[in-house]
Each structure stands twice: as C-alpha cells, then as structure tokens.
Subunit: 229 residues, 4 copies
C-alpha cells in the first residue's frame, strides 16, 4: 500500500459496501451476521469518516441505506441502527494508519484454526509471497470493548508487509488502500490458511527463500493487474 | 436466554419455519430430509403448541401448509402428514423448558465428528465464548422412540450456558428463546466444531481464560445486535 | 428393501433421471461427467429394461431425450448416444437382484478416501445405523470391461444390510428399490464417509452396540417418513 | 492427446473462454482474479495465436471482448487490457508443444498442498488412472518473469502421461488438445488431489498395479464418451 487514492464519498462507500459484504458471503468467510467491512470516506465537508455495517443484521438484508456513518472516534453520525460491535477497532486503525482506506473482519474457519493456536501462517506458496510478502502474523489476545484490538492490529501490522493479521483466538483483520483491497486480502488470507493447513497435514511444506519472496512480492505489487499501484 | 418473548401464532410459525429450514440447507447443516426446526406457538385458544417439519419430506417441498401442529405431548393437532420422527424429543424439551421457543436438530458433519467421539468442543475462540459461554457439552447416547433423547437434552443443557448439545453418536440439538435463535445456535455450533477441529489437527489451541469467557459471553448476550436481549 | 414397487414406464424413468442426476451435482458427489444413475423400467411390452445416462455428457446438458434405454444385458435399445461406460455393471446388478429398481455410481471424495484404503466405514453414528444397518462394506478391486464390477457389487451387498458398497480404489455403488432410494443412499454414504473421517482424524469414535444398531435400523426402515416401506 | 483437432477461430476461442473460466469458478478452483485459461486459435491469416484472460479482472466481468489475443511469443495483438501475468508461460508451452490446444492455470487448494510439499500425487484411484495414466508429477520451483515456468511445465510433462503438473510451491498447470480438455484435467486434478489427501490422512492407500493403470488409461483414452479420441 504505497499510493494514496482519492477517497469515495459517503454515498459511494455505502453502495460499495453492499457488494463487498456479498463477497464475504460468496467466499464463505462469514456465517450468520458475523464479520464486517468498512471504508474510509469523505463527508460533504471533506472530513474523513468511516462507513460500516450495522451490528447483528443479516447479510441478505444489508442495503446502502442501512450502513452506518461514524467519525474516526467511532461515534455514530448517520444511521438509525447500532454500528458493528467492532467499530472501535476499525476507528482505531483509521486514526493511526492514514494509508488505510478499508478494513475487513472475519472469522473465516481455516484462518481461525491458525489463530486458535496463535501460529503465524508460513509463506510456502507463491500466491502468499505475492499478496502478503511473507508469513501472515499473529496479533495479541484482546477483548472487545476498548482500544485493545485496534492497538493489536496496528502494532502487529507495523512490523510486516502483510495486509492481514490473525488476532489470537479470535479471527482475521485485513487492511487495504481501498475496501476492495481489504476484501481481497481477506479472501486470499483464508485461501492461504487453507492450502497451507492442507499441506501441513501430510508433512512439511518446503519453504520459499526470502530473496524469492521479495522478488515475487515486489513484482506482484507493481506489475500485476491493469495498472501499477 | 433470559427474556420471555411474545409467542408467534401458529400461522406465523408455519411461515417462519419455511425460511428457517432454508437456512439449514444454505449452511450445509443437513442432507436429504434429515434435520428439523420447530417453534413454540400460541393456538387460537392461547394454549402452547409446537409446529414442526413433517417426516421425510424434501426441503424443496416444504411449505407453510405442510408443517405439522402438535400439542406439547407430541400428538398431532393439525396436518395430514406424519410429524418429524424427532417430535417426541422436541415436545419433551418444550414441556420442561418454559423459556424455550424454538428447537433445531441437525447431523451437521463437524459437530457429528465430536459427537461420535463423545468429546465436548473446547472454548478456544471468542465467537464460541460469545454464543456458547464455554464448551459445547455432550449428552448421553439415547435411542429414538421414548423420552430418552429429550431427557438427555434437558439434563445436559441444565448445567451449561450453551444453547447447543452434542448427543452422543447422533448429532446436534439447539434451543433458543425463538426458533431463529435456535437456528443461529445450530449454525454457530457447526462453525465452532469446524474451526476447533481444524485448529486441533495441527496442534493444541491455546485456551481462553474463564474470566475472559465470562466477559465475552456477558457482553455479547447483552449488547450485540440492535437491542439488548 | 423389502417391498416390490410398481416399475416406472420408460418415459417416467427418463424424466425422473434428469432430476436425480441433478441431486448428484447438488450434493457435490460428482465432477465433470463422472457418475451416473440408472432406473429399472417397464417397456411398452412389459419387459424390464434399464434407463441410464449417456457416456461423457455434461450434467447441464442432460435431458430426458438424451437418456439411453438398454436391455438387461446392456445392449442399447433406444438412444443415439453411447450409454454410460458403467452400463455393464448396472445391467449385471439388475439381472441378479430382482428387488433393485435403481443404481447410482459416484466417485464422491470422502467415500473414495475409504475406498482407496480398502477400509469399511464403521457404524458409529445413528444416521448410519438408520440407513446402512452396520458398516459400509468394501468390494473387490475390479477393472471396467467385463462383469467383474457387477459381480463384486452383488457379492459384497449379499452379506450386508447396506445399500452402498465402496469398490476398492474406485468409488461408490448404491442400490435401492427405486432410483430415488439409490440416490438417497449415495448422499447418505458420502455424508457418513465424511463425518466418520472427521471423527477419526482426532481420535477414536465410540462404537454403537450391535443391538442398538439393529433397533435403529429396524425402526428407520419401517416407520420413518410418510409410509412404512 | 493423440489426435490433432481443427483449431477454433479467434472469435470462437474468445466466446468459449468465457464459459470455461466459469467452470473454474463453479468447481472452486480459483479465488478472486487468480487462475486463467487460454486457447490456441487460428487468426484470419491462418497463423497460430493464443487467446487468454486479461490480468487481474474479476471472473464476473469477463466477456469475449475482454479476452486478449497474443502471438506465440506472448506479444499482444488485440486487446486494450494487459494479458494474464502468466502469458509467457502459456506461450512457451504452445511454442514447444504443437499438440497443445488449451492450457489452464489454477491455485486449487488440495493440489497446492501437494505442490507446497513438492510431492507427486500417487495413482491410487481408477479415475486417476483414467485421466492421468499414473501419478501427477511435480515441476521445478520457478519464478514468474522469464521462460522458467514454461520450461518447467514442458520438461516435466515430457516424461509423463499426465496432462497436469504441480509446479513447486505454486499451483497447477494443465494442458489439453482443446481448452475444454485442459479445464477437465484441472477439475480432475483437484478432485484427485483431494481424494488422495483424504485417503492419506487416515492411513496408506493401496496402490494400483502398473498393468492395471495401463489398461484403465488406454481404455478411457480410447473408448470413454461419445467418440474415440
């Protein structure tokens, strides 16, 4: 995440979050009402706000109108429903990482298995080198209710090229320059968690050399897709 | 489950059970005609009855009209089809747990794996602490045909905060203040059974301290979603 | 399978096989063009014939018209396409088991795992006792091309209450009084193969006593669903 | 792959690639924008070209028009988007294997698990003997950016009847006389990777004798489906 992108308006973010939450369902990263996506947006005065899913609402019932707009301290600015119970964690990350435009939280099952053992996912596949630039790290055990989760995310990701962190005994948080990038990281995190889990079940995966990880990560971040990032 | 809620009418329960059975299919908790959901309802005289799926009918063919209404001894009051073969177990639970408004039974695969070993699912994920308040317990081995299954469910759940019980070598029963709550518990039970299974395959999950489980459970039961319960 | 049922006409069987092949897809029992369902039917002269899927045709492209009608020696009577390459095995079973009205063949993955080890699936879940009345047995290794597969199916199932057999290093064959019953057995076989696989991954499942298996099987075969069989 | 087939036109290939990429999604072989299918086609002058997916485009957004046409050195001839980052590997294979009409690349999870351990998948199921004629081999570790991946694919498959190769720590490449055949091989490769993984988790699969593998492979390649190949 090197480039700063133009932030969406609140209305753009509301609309976009509907389809991005649909991606969490499509990739089986969430069950029932667990999990959430947020986006940083510009309000009509040009201030940064965050837009996030309401708490405990079924994915089928999410609409652009139902999304909640909060300031970066997590206080509700627009919306009749209570925001996600993870709003404080999202807000903490937005306050301390100016480069973050989107955040995702899931309890995706293979990633949770690594998180329950508090074990980082080793980088043994080229797709992991591409997206994560090394292992997917584990953050501290933190209880919901204050800034502990947000602090854990920021501190753990500060020492890593990974956009994903496994919070101990809890689940996954991912960050991105945009909300789409954060959703992509959540999808790739579960995919990596699964493939490496399967690899480890029948023996030891062969590590990838650090130099090769660097080359793969550099190339992917700068020349994959339709434009350099 | 602390609050008593207004019971649905029989017609409301019939309609609601159609969509709730659809959730069992969506989350891959059932195959073919196995599994069932029931709801406690008020009949036109204000008496408690239970509404349940007919036996051996395909999920695609379920309709509000096909649901069977029974008294709390499991005798059919309305319906031309035979009720679920698990009706006696549901009826026993409704008779002995006035706070239960809905019951679900599944043979969901990861939960069945724990049930076949007669091993409780340890509470090693915050989502388990939230929903179950501790491990998911194992009930006795009981053969269908009398009150043995119902007694096993009630006795096992009496000593637990969990709304789910793994009946030995059989499957899952969940309870809730409403049928929706019981379906949610069945979904979360399989999700926990799977994540903890995966965690255990490659080592030992780190336990969550009992005090932290208490704090998580208390917070989730009282402040998650759109209203305190 | 105790009762003889009225056989479908060829046209009824053609139509029915379209939806039954759809069940194989829905339950992820098959990939690409592998797998097949057949039904015994009465032709216009009242003779027994078998109706089966054509070979190597995509599931999406199956229609009633595309199904192939063969005599019980496997010779094509109606149809412009080649019949399933497993037709000889189906024909052998229909010739030697008058009580069989439908047959299913799949390479469903968990069942194939047991088949590759040539290991019967032990009866450790009540749903297995209900449907299979004991373990799911393993048949011999047999190469396609003569009656070896058919002989192996018939010989193995002769000593079992199970409607499913795991053919060594190959896959699953199931039989039923109707094609629907055979499809149900294929669905339940994969479900059992998966749950018992998962149970065994983390320890030893507790066996169910033979007397209890008998009671469960007897009850399920005679009083589950909407009519005694 | 013994018969040379008539090549599609560029327009036929563009259209066909849309539905074939849909098969990768349907069989869960890819996530997000990873994976790709290409086809060899004849341009209007009768020269061989390759048609391939653009880089980093969502599967839902693929259209015939969006596909990229390249010469067999991987240079773009038609298309406004950048071609798949794997284009050089595809081009290398087309240049060195005149019999190849289609190529698929995926990171399907069970196959990736074997690839991460650099372990061939042993041939212990008749369906593997049919499609692969033996074990699925492992190719070298190669970094994207030059001909290393293409060389590894061609060298590894030269010593094998398998149309699939597991590239070390990376993923799957499959070849076929047509793009459909290559997609089929990718589907069957993941299916085999999964079933043999499951078999190995609880013990050792029984091998199939080399003579039986030969007989199965020969029969399947020449008499399965609706025409000899």
């Amino acid at each position: 995440m090197t480039a700063v992108r133009a932030l969406p308006t609140v209305d753009q973010a509301r609309q976009h979050l509907v389809s991005l939450h649909g991606e969490l369902v499509r990739y089986n990263l969430v069950v029932w009402t667990a999990g959430n996506v947020s986006a940083r947006a510009h309000d009509s005065s040009g201030h940064d706000v965050l837009v996030i899913k309401p708490s405990g609402i079924a994915y089928d019932e999410l609409s652009a109108e139902a999304m909640i707009v909060c300031d970066l301290d997590g206080r509700v600015l627009e919306g009749s429903l209570a925001p996600s119970s993870d709003t404080a964690a999202h807000a903490y990350v937005y306050r301390h990482r100016r480069d973050v435009g989107g955040i995702v939280h899931t309890h995706s099952p293979y990633a949770c298995a690594w998180a329950a053992r508090r074990e980082p996912i080793p980088c043994v596949l080229t797709a992991m080198a591409d997206e994560f630039g090394g292992p997917i790290p584990v953050g501290p055990f933190a209880i919901i209710g204050d800034d502990a989760i947000g602090r854990g995310i920021v501190a753990t990701l500060a020492g890593s090229r990974s956009p994903a962190v496994l919070m101990a005994n809890h689940g996954v948080f991912t960050i991105g320059a945009t909300a789409t990038d954060a959703v992509k990281a959540a999808v790739m995190c579960e995919d990596a968690a699964r493939s490496v889990h399967l690899a480890r079940q029948l023996g030891e995966p062969v590590p990838i050399e650090p130099d090769d990880i660097d080359r793969l990560h550099d190339r992917y971040q700068h020349s994959y897709g339709q434009s350099a990032r």
